[in-house]
Symmetry: C2
Subunit: 148 residues, 2 copies
DNA sequence: GGTCCATCTGAGACACGGTATCAACTAGAC
DNA sequence: GTCTAGTTGATACCGTGTCTCAGATGGACC
């Protein structure tokens, strides 16, 4: 997948251009890799995929691109239950992820209701909440259906 | 703090004995270090503290003790916003932590209300929740008061 | 108290994830 | 086409956590 450039640019690249950073070949490559991922992916997985599909791509560049994408809100880092890190591509401003431990796909979960929970925490204890993180792990609808 | 053994054993050690594992000198040392921590602490901090107070204590032993304590539910690992890990001593079964980014202390937050949020997620999307993690960061009541 | 064995320990090598450095390259403005 | 700042890849490096293994030690049993 290195020749055809007739396809429409993925939103990731558009976002890069809009952010005023250079749209370089390596960044295109990382964007393509990220877009190709189905569900969450670890840095190691991305590096492996890169080695296969974009041999010249440096490891550091992948990390840098991921950092950049994070800064731009195009991907988000999630913390796995085992302490490791993974990434998911996303677009909306603030949300959470429900990660399927079977297929690896992640669903976005909105804040509905959580805000109240946090407000109550604040009210009761006087704790002033700056930021929070909610991660949900389990089995997604299709995997539940598949195993039923 | 290496001589007096007239003080009552901290709950950590009692728990060790109850769990049927050996109550060894190194484990006593790590337990003391953990107990001495005020709020959350990173492994690095614990290692540094150990170097000062228990020079003979090996790094691997600290990690192992921390693992053991986690298994026994005596400490819990939290994921910091920057991707790093920290630990908090705790006793209750399932709860979450509200971590003060100013003083480092952590308050336990119960599930009150969160269960409903998760139930709604499940109901709407068919996602079957196995486990979840909520971490709240902000400023605790006393730090808010202190800075007012 | 003494003996014994499984458990535990410490040292150090190792694997891994992520960062810093730096010369060379290139996107894109002019 | 030219130029420059931003970007890149290679590589060295650092911190965190794990593994191995010979030696030490807790505590059970005598």
């Amino acid at each position: 997948m290195s020749g055809g450039h007739g396809h429409s640019a993925p939103p990731l690249l558009t976002a890069l251009a809009n952010a005023g950073v250079r749209v370089t070949e390596p960044r295109r490559a990382v964007a393509a890799l990220v877009t190709a991922q189905d569900g969450h992916f670890t840095t190691a997985e991305l590096v492996t995929a890169a080695r296969a599909e974009h041999p010249g791509l440096g490891r550091a560049t992948i990390f840098r691109a991921l950092d950049l994408f994070t800064l731009l809100g195009l991907v988000e880092r999630v913390d796995l239950p085992d302490g490791g890190h993974a990434w998911v591509a996303c677009e909306t401003a603030h949300h959470h992820h429900a990660i399927c431990t079977r297929c690896g796909r992640s669903t976005e979960v909105d804040d509905h209701g959580l805000a109240e929970v946090l407000a109550e925490v604040a009210g009761r204890s006087g704790f002033r909440v700056t930021t929070h993180r909610l991660e949900v792990f389990g089995t997604c609808a299709s995997c539940v259906a598949a195993s039923a």
